[in-house]
Symmetry: C2
Subunit: 336 residues, 2 copies
C-alpha cells in the first residue's frame, strides 16, 4: 500500500481534497476542465482510492460473499463461475466460504459476516434438519440483500434461483419407465432439503401417472457416508426384488450406483437403467455413458448474482422476493 492518496493529489493540483474527491466521482459540482486535470494526474500516479476509507465513509462496499457447501463439485464450481462472471463485470469482489455440509460452519460464517464486510450474500444451504433460523437472524441484524440458489430454504422473504426440479424429474422418470423399467427406484437422503423433496415428488407423480404404484420399495435412503451407501445398494441390488431403474438425484449417488453395478457385474442398461442428476463433464465417457439430468449451474449462478447486485444497487431488497426458475436439461445416453 505504498500508493499515493487524495491529499497528495490535491496538494499537487492546488485544489482541496473535497474537490479532488468530487472530480474523481464525476460530480456535477466540478467543472469539466478541473475534472480532466484531476483524472489525468490520478492516472499518471496510478492512483486508486483506498477501499477501506471509502467503504467506511460510505458505509458500504463492492464486496459480496458466496456461501456454498462444496467447491469440489461441478455444479457449485459452475455456479461460482457464473457468479464471478457477473461480479467481475460489475467490478465487485467476491468472497468465497465453504461449509462442507457443516451447519456449525455455516452459522459461524454468517456470524462473522455480521461485521459488515460485505454488501450482499449468495447462499446454497448445507444439509441438515435444523431449520433456517440462523439466516433469519442474520437478516434481522445485518439487513443485507441475500439470494439463495439451488439449495434454498423455505423462507418466503428471500429471493431464490432454482431449477425446475419437479418437472424435469417427472420427465426423467417417465423416460426410465418408457425404456422398460417396471420397478424404478429413487435414492433419497436422510434429511431431504426442499430441492430433493421436489425431485422426489416429480418421481412419485411420474410413477403414478404411468400406472406404477409408489411404495416403500420405490425409495431407498442413503447417507453422507459413501461406504455405507455402497454396501446398502450392493445388498439391495443383490436381492431378488431388485430395482430395474434408478433415478439418482445427487451426483455421488449415481457414481456409487455405477461402482456397485461394476462390482456385481450388473449390466447397465439391461439389468438397470440409470439417470443421474449431475453436471459431470465426463458423463459421456463413463462405462456405459451416463444419462444425465443436468442443472443450468452457470446460468443459475449468473442469475443469482445479477439479482443480488440489482438488489444492492436499487436497495429494494425488501421487495425482491422473486423466484427464478431455470430449466434442467435431460440427456439420454447409453445407461437408459
Amino acid at each position: 500500500m505504498k500508493g499515493i492518496n487524495m491529499i497528495q493529489l490535491a496538494k499537487e493540483l492546488g485544489l482541496s481534497v473535497s474537490t479532488v474527491s468530487k472530480a474523481l466521482g464525476d460530480s456535477h459540482e466540478i467543472s469539466s476542465t478541473t475534472k480532466k486535470r484531476v483524472m489525468e494526474l490520478a492516472k499518471k500516479y496510478n492512483y486508486k482510492p483506498n477501499p477501506f476509507a471509502s467503504n467506511l465513509r460510505k458505509k458500504k462496499g463492492k464486496q459480496i460473499a458466496v456461501i456454498i457447501p462444496d467447491i469440489v463439485n461441478n455444479f457449485f464450481a459452475l455456479a461460482v463461475d457464473g457468479i464471478e462472471s457477473v461480479t467481475m463485470a460489475k467490478h465487485y469482489d467476491t468472497f468465497i466460504y465453504l461449509t462442507h455440509e457443516n451447519l456449525e460452519r455455516e452459522k459461524s460464517v454468517l456470524e462473522h459476516l455480521e461485521n459488515g464486510l460485505i454488501s450482499g450474500l449468495i447462499i446454497s444451504v448445507c444439509t441438515g434438519r435444523e431449520g433456517y433460523g440462523h439466516f433469519q437472524q442474520f437478516y434481522e441484524s445485518a439487513r443485507l440483500p441475500m439470494v439463495f440458489f439451488d439449495r434454498v430454504p423455505d423462507l418466503l422473504q428471500f429471493p431464490k434461483v432454482i431449477s425446475n426440479n419437479y418437472e424435469s424429474t417427472f420427465e426423467s422418470t417417465e423416460r426410465l419407465i418408457k425404456a422398460g423399467s417396471k420397478r424404478p427406484l429413487f435414492i433419497q437422503t436422510e434429511e431431504p432439503l426442499y430441492t430433493l423433496m421436489e425431485r422426489r415428488r416429480g418421481f412419485q407423480d411420474a410413477l403414478v401417472a404411468n400406472g406404477i404404484s409408489f411404495t416403500d420399495e420405490s425409495l431407498i435412503t442413503c447417507s453422507e457416508n459413501m461406504e455405507d451407501n455402497y454396501l446398502l445398494l450392493k445388498k439391495l441390488f443383490s436381492s431378488r426384488k431388485r430395482p430395474d431403474g434408478i433415478f439418482a438425484p445427487i451426483e455421488k449417488f449415481a457414481i456409487t450406483v455405477y461402482q456397485v453395478c461394476r462390482d456385481l457385474k450388473l449390466n447397465i442398461p439391461k439389468d438397470l437403467k440409470v439417470i443421474g442428476m449431475t453436471n459431470l463433464r465426463t458423463a459421456a465417457l463413463l462405462n456405459p455413458s451416463l444419462s444425465t439430468l443436468s442443472q443450468p449451474a452457470f446460468d443459475m449462478g449468473r442469475e443469482a448474482a445479477t439479482l443480488l447486485l440489482k438488489m444492492i444497487e436499487k436497495k429494494s431488497y425488501a421487495a425482491a422476493n422473486d423466484i427464478i426458475v431455470l430449466a434442467n436439461e435431460l440427456t439420454i445416453r447409453d445407461s437408459v
Copy 2:
C-alpha cells in the same frame, strides 16, 4: 450494518474508547477485570469491530485473494478447497478471481488489487507467452506477499508450491514403456508453461533412459480449441505410424484421447495405453478406467495458503523465496 460500535460500548461501560479497543485486543495495559467487563458487554450486544475502520487504521486486513485460471476443473477446485481450509481456520477472508486463461483479465485483476484491498495473494498463472512483467510490476508497487502454485512463473523472488512434475512424469512414462509401449506420445501445448516443460522433460528422459529415441513424432502440439485437437488426434490415430502409448499432461487432452478412441474403435489399452494427468474423481469409472497421475491439489492449496499467511504475519516475505515440492500420485488402472 445496524450494529453497535465502540463508542456506544464505551459510554455504557463508563470507559474511554481506547480502553475498550485495548480490552478487546487483549492488551496487557488493561486489567483483567476491565477486560472481562468489556468482553461481556461486547458479547451481549454481539459487537463486531468494523473491518473497514480497523483495516484503514491498521493499514492492513485479513483478506487475501486467489487468482486462478478456472474453477470448473477439479484440480483448481481442490486447491481452492485447500486454501479455504487454512484461511477459514485462521479467520481470513478469501476473494476469488477467475482469469479464464485470459491475460488481460489477469492483468486487470492485478491492477484492481493495487487499491490495497488485500494483504496477500495466491496465484496460478494463465497460459500465454507474454511473460510475467505484470506480476513483477504489481509487486513493485503493492509490495504484498505473493505465493504461486502449480502454474508458476520463472521469477526467482516469489515463493512457489509445485509438484514433482519431472520425476512423476518420468515414472509414468516408464510405466507406459514397461507395459509394452514402443512409440509413446506426449501431448504438448503451443506455449508450454514451466510446469508443462518439466513434464515434457520427464517424458523425454524416460524415453532415452529406456532406449527409445525421442523424435518429432514423440510429440504432438494441441491448442486451446478442443475441436481442432479432436481432429488432429483422430488424424494421427488413423495413420499408419500411430502411437501406442500416450501421456496426456492435461486433463482435457486425456478426455479428448478417450473420445477419439471411442469414435475410432481403438482399444485401450491394447491399441493405445493411456495415462492422464488429472484429478478427476470419475477416472476409475471411465471406459476403460483411466490410469492417472494426479496432483496433490488440496495439499498444494493448503501449503500455499499456510505459507502466505506466515509471510503476511511475519512480514518476512522478502526472504521467503522457498519452493515447496509435493509428490504427484500415479494410479495405474485398466488403461495401461
